[in-house]
C-alpha cells in the first residue's frame, strides 16, 4: 500500500541517490525503472558440486533466449538474461532469488537443480510472488502457486521405472542407493511403500545413502552384489546425484557388475553425466527419463543442431532437464503472449492448459497442479554414451502428491478451480496455501 509513494520518492531523489556511496548496489534498481526489456533470471550454480549439471542449463537458457530474441522477442520487447551464480550453496539460492526479484526485477526465473535449493528459494518467491520454472525430476509432495514443475514427478519417472524392474526384469530384491538429501530420501520413501504394496518384503529392500561427491564405492558395490546370496534377483535403483555417479559407475564396471546380473536404473544420470566416463563396461544399465538425446524426431534433431551450434562444440550432448527448460521456456513465452503481460498472476493463469510439442514426440500439457504431462522413457546405456530407448509410454500426467504414501494420497493440487496446492480431498479443505520448506 505504501508502494506508490515510495516509487514516486524514488524517482524524485534519483539524483541524490546516485551521489550516495552505495549507489553501486542500488543503481541497477533504478536502471530497471525505465527498462524496455523483459528480464529472465537464470538461477543455476556455476560453481560448486552441482555446477557439473547446472552449467549446461544456464547455457540452454541463454540459447533459448537468444533464439527467441532473434524471432523478435516477446510482446515486442527483447529478452534479457540475468545470470547469477548461487555456487551450489543453498542459502545463497535464497539470497540470489531475492536479489533477482527485488533488485534485478526479473519477470520470471528459470533455475535450481537439487530439491534442497528449490526448498531454499520457495519461501522467497512465495513471499515476493515470483515465478520459477524448475526443470528437474524431483520427489513431488509439493505444488507451489509460484513454481511450474517442468521435470518429472515420481509417477512420471520413479514408479514406471520400478514397474519396469518388476514386470520386465523380474527383480525380487531392491537396493535403493541415493545421495543424502531431500529428493532421494523422499523418492525412496515413496518407492519403499510402493514396493511393499507390490508384495516385496521389507527385508528385500536395502537402502543406502552417501554424501554428495562420494568417491569410495568399493564396499557399497560389494554389499549390493552380496545381496544376491539368497537367490533372489537383485536390482539397483540409483538416486545418486551429481559427480558421485562417476566413481559409482567406474566401480560397477571394475567389479564386473553387468546389467544382466545386476541391472542399475538411475534417475539422475543422463547423457551429460555419462560423458564423464567410458561407458563400454556399462552397456545395458538403465536410466529412466522423459527425454533421451537419441530420440528419433525432427524436433529433437533441430534442437540438437541448435545446441551444438550455440555451444560451438560438436561433442556436447543434450539431456532431459534441457528439454524441460525448452518446454518450460516456450510455454512461458506463449503464456506471456496470451496474457499480453508479464504479470506473474496473469501469466500463471495463462500457463495452465498450455500445450507444446515434446522433443520425443507427443504434446506436453501444463496441468492445473503446475506439473506437465510427460511420456516415460527407459533407456539402456550404449557404448557411445547414448541411450537406446527400449520403452516409451504415452504421456503420463504429473501427480504432485503421490498415491503411495497414506498421508499424501488424500492430497491434491489444483490452481485453477480449487486455488490450492495442498487440498485435502477427504475433509475438503485447503491445508495450507504456502509450501512446506
Amino acid at each position: 500500500m505504501a508502494r506508490p509513494k515510495r516509487e514516486r520518492l524514488m524517482k524524485l531523489s534519483r539524483r541524490a541517490l546516485l551521489a550516495s556511496g552505495i549507489a553501486a548496489f542500488a543503481a541497477p534498481r533504478i536502471a530497471f525503472a525505465q527498462a524496455e526489456t523483459i528480464k529472465v533470471g537464470v538461477l543455476h550454480s556455476l560453481s560448486g558440486t552441482m555446477a557439473i549439471s547446472e552449467t549446461t542449463l544456464k547455457d540452454t537458457m541463454l540459447m533459448l533466449i537468444e533464439a527467441q530474441n532473434a524471432k523478435g522477442g516477446v510482446l515486442g520487447k527483447q529478452l534479457e538474461a540475468v545470470v547469477v551464480d548461487p555456487a551450489s550453496d543453498w542459502p545463497l539460492f535464497a539470497e540470489k532469488a531475492r536479489e533477482l526479484l527485488t533488485v534485478s526485477n526479473v519477470d520470471v526465473m528459470f533455475g535450481c537443480w537439487t530439491s534442497v535449493s528449490r526448498k531454499s528459494v520457495l519461501p522467497v518467491i512465495e513471499e515476493l510472488n515470483g515465478l520459477l520454472f524448475y526443470p528437474v525430476q524431483y520427489e513431488g509432495e509439493e505444488s507451489s502457486k509460484n513454481v511450474f514443475y517442468t521435470g518429472a514427478a515420481p509417477n512420471q519417472q520413479a514408479i514406471p521405472a520400478v514397474d519396469y524392474f518388476l514386470e520386465e526384469l523380474g527383480i525380487e530384491k531392491f537396493a535403493l542407493l541415493g545421495t543424502d538429501y531431500v529428493y532421494p530420501r523422499t523418492t525412496n520413501n515413496i518407492l519403499e511403500s510402493y514396493l511393499l504394496s507390490k508384495g516385496i518384503a521389507k527385508e528385500d529392500i536395502f537402502v543406502n545413502y552417501t554424501p554428495f561427491g562420494h568417491s569410495d564405492w568399493s564396499k557399497i558395490v560389494g554389499d549390493v552384489v552380496a545381496l544376491g546370496a539368497d537367490g533372489k534377483k537383485v536390482g539397483v535403483i540409483s538416486t545418486i546425484n551429481g559427480d558421485a555417479n562417476i566413481g559409482f559407475y567406474k566401480e560397477l564396471a571394475a567389479a564386473g557388475v553387468t546389467a544382466d546380473k545386476l541391472p542399475v536404473v538411475a534417475f539422475s544420470v543422463g547423457e551429460e553425466e555419462l560423458s564423464g566416463l567410458d561407458t563400454s563396461n556399462l552397456v545395458g544399465h538403465l536410466a529412466a527419463w522423459n527425454y533421451f538425446m537419441s530420440a528419433d524426431t525432427p524436433e529433437n534433431a533441430a534442437f540438437i543442431a541448435q545446441w551444438k551450434a550455440f555451444i560451438k562444440d560438436d561433442a556436447r550432448v543434450t539431456n532431459d532437464p534441457m528439454e524441460a527448460h525448452y518446454i518450460g521456456f516456450n510455454m512461458w513465452v506463449n503464456a506471456v503472449t496470451a496474457a499480453g503481460t508479464t504479470d506473474v498472476d496473469a501469466v500463471s493463469a495463462a500457463m495452465i492448459g498450455q500445450k507444446f510439442p515434446n522433443l520425443t514426440g507427443g504434446v506436453a500439457e501444463m496441468l492445473p497442479n503446475h506439473h506437465l504431462t510427460k511420456p516415460v522413457l527407459i533407456g539402456e546405456i550404449r557404448a557411445d554414451g547414448q541411450f537406446d530407448i527400449i520403452s516409451q509410454t504415452d504421456p503420463v500426467p504429473g501427480d504432485a502428491w503421490t498415491d503411495f504414501l497414506p498421508a499424501s494420497a488424500v492430497l491434491a493440487a489444483d490452481w485453477k478451480d480449487l486455488k490450492c496446492g495442498m487440498y485435502n480431498t477427504e475433509t475438503k479443505t485447503c491445508v495450507q496455501l504456502t509450501s512446506n520448506y
Binding site: 515510495r6 531523489s13 550516495s20 548496489f25 540475468v82 547469477v84 555456487a87 542459502p91 533488485v103 519461501p123
Partner: protein, 408 residues
C-alpha cells in the same frame, strides 16, 4: 573511561556504526524512502553479523595468536540452535491451524506428531528427535544458542590446549573439528534434517503479518547493536591487563608460562568467549539468510573468516570488521551477475567466472605485501608507522604482529 582512552577507535567506530544504521534505515523499504531493496538490507544485516564474527576472530587470532580455523562451526551451531526454535514454532502455528479444522481439538501427541511429520516429512521421517526436546521453549532454546557452542569450545579447547597443541597443528585440528561436525550434521541420523538443513527461518513465528521489508530492518538493527556491544566488550578486554597477558601469550607463550600465568586458562577463556560471540552472530545471521545447512560448516568457511581478518588487518578490531564487510559485499556483488563484464580484445571477462581468481590473488598479495591489511591504511592516515623490517618476522615469535596496537 579507561577503555575509550586506550582504544580511541571505539568512539569513532560506534558513532560510524550508529550513523550507518540510521542512514540505512532512512533509505530502507520498511521505514524509509525505499531506495534500498529489502534484499540489500538483508545483505547488510548479514554483513554486520559476519563483521561480528570477524571481530571475535580478531580477538582470538590477532590478539591471542591462536589461528583457529574452526570458528565458523560455532557460527553455524548458533544458527542451528535458533533455527530449531524458529522452525518448531512456525510449524506449530501451521499444524495447530490445520488440526483445529479436524473436528476435535488436538491432543499434545497429535500436535507433536503433526509437527514432526511436517518438519521431517521431507527427509522421510516422522518422529521428533530428542535433541529437539527444548525447541518448544524460546528461553531454553536461546540458552542453548550460548551453551552448546560454549560447552563444545570449552571441551575442545581444554583437550587441545592441555595437550599443548599450538600453531599450525591447532589450525589443522580445528579444521578437523569443523569437518567432523559438518559430516555429523550431514547425516540424517543427527536429527537436524541432514543436507537439507533448517529452512524458512526468515518467517518469525507469531509475526506472520509483519512483512520482510520491516523484519529486515529489525534484524539489521539487532545485528548493528550486537556488533556495537561486542566491539565495546572486546575493546574493554584487550585494553586491560587481560589484553596485555593474551598479547604476551601470542608473542611468547613459554615466557608467559614461566612468569606464572595459567596460559591454558587464558587461552581457553578466549577460545570459549569468542565461540559464544560467534554463535550469537550466527543466531542473528541465519534468520536473515533463511536457511542453514551443514555446508555452512565446511572447512573453507572458517578459512574465509581468517582471510577476512587478514585482509582487514589483524590486531585491529575495526580492521577485522572492515575486512569482513568489504570481502563479503564484493563477493555478493560480483557473483550477483550485475558487475559489468570487461570487454577484452579476444573475448569478454565475465566476473562470475573470474571473481574467485581475483579474490584468491588478492589474498596472496595482501599476505605478501600488506600484512597489516586494510587496517594498515588507517595506520598510515594517523601517522602510526612501524619500522621497515625488510621482510623479517614482525615479532619475536614467528607470525606475531607486535605493534603498539593496544593504543590504537
Amino acid at each position: 573511561m579507561q577503555t575509550s582512552r586506550t582504544n580511541p577507535s571505539l568512539t569513532v567506530f560506534v558513532a560510524t556504526l550508529l550513523a550507518f544504521a540510521v542512514l540505512i534505515t532512512a533509505l530502507s523499504e520498511g521505514y524509509g524512502t525505499g531506495h534500498l531493496s529489502t534484499s540489500f538490507i538483508k545483505t547488510l544485516g548479514k554483513t554486520l553479523c559476519l563483521g561480528l564474527a570477524a571481530l571475535a576472530m580478531d580477538l582470538i587470532w590477532g590478539y591471542a595468536g591462536i589461528l583457529s580455523l574452526g570458528h565458523m562451526a560455532f557460527f553455524a551451531l548458533g544458527g542451528y540452535m535458533i533455527g530449531m526454535w524458529l522452525m518448531y514454532a512456525r510449524t506449530r502455528e501451521i499444524v495447530e491451524a490445520s488440526l483445529s479444522g479436524g473436528g476435535l481439538p488436538a491432543t499434545p501427541q497429535e500436535l507433536e506428531q503433526g509437527i514432526a511429520s511436517q518438519i521431517f516429512g521431507v527427509v522421510g521421517g516422522s518422529d521428533l528427535p530428542f535433541i529437539w526436546g527444548f525447541a518448544h521453549s524460546f528461553p531454553l532454546q536461546m540458552a542453548l544458542v550460548v551453551l552448546v557452542p560454549g560447552v563444545l569450545a570449552l571441551v575442545f579447547g581444554w583437550l587441545a590446549f592441555r595437550a599443548r597443541v599450538t600453531g599450525v597443528y591447532l589450525s589443522i585440528l580445528t579444521q578437523a573439528m569443523t569437518l567432523a561436525l559438518a559430516l555429523y550434521l550431514f547425516q540424517n541420523e543427527s536429527g537436524l534434517r541432514g543436507n537439507n538443513g533448517l529452512s524458512g527461518l526468515q518467517n518469525l513465528p507469531g509475526l506472520a503479518d509483519v512483512d520482510q521489508a520491516t523484519l529486515s530492518v529489525w534484524f539489521f538493527w539487532a545485528s548493528a547493536a550486537a556488533l556495537g556491544l561486542a566491539y565495546l566488550l572486546i575493546s574493554w578486554i584487550v585494553s586491560g591487563k587481560f589484553g596485555s597477558v593474551i598479547r604476551a601469550i601470542r608473542d611468547d607463550e613459554a615466557r608467559v608460562r614461566f612468569l606464572g600465568y595459567s596460559v591454558e586458562g587464558y587461552k581457553l577463556f578466549v577460545f570459549a568467549l569468542t565461540a559464544v560471540v560467534i554463535a550469537l552472530a550466527g543466531a542473528l545471521y541465519y534468520p536473515q539468510a533463511g536457511i542453514i545447512n551443514p555446508a555452512e560448516l565446511a572447512p573453507t568457511a572458517s578459512i574465509y573468516l581468517a582471510v577476512w581478518v587478514a585482509i582487514g588487518g589483524r590486531g585491529r578490531l575495526y580492521g577485522a570488521v572492515i575486512g569482513a564487510a568489504v570481502v563479503s559485499l564484493l563477493s555478493s556483488w560480483f557473483t550477483g551477475g550485475r558487475a559489468p563484464s570487461i570487454p577484452l580484445g579476444f573475448g569478454r571477462l565475465d566476473w562470475v567466472d573470474w571473481w574467485q581468481v581475483l579474490l584468491g590473488l588478492t589474498f596472496v598479495l595482501v599476505t605478501l605485501f600488506a600484512p597489516k591489511g586494510l587496517g594498515g591504511l588507517f595506520d598510515a592516515l594517523t601517522g602510526l608507522r612501524s619500522p621497515n623490517r625488510r621482510g623479517a618476522a614482525l615479532g619475536p615469535d614467528q607470525g606475531a604482529l607486535q605493534e603498539r596496537e593496544a593504543q590504537k
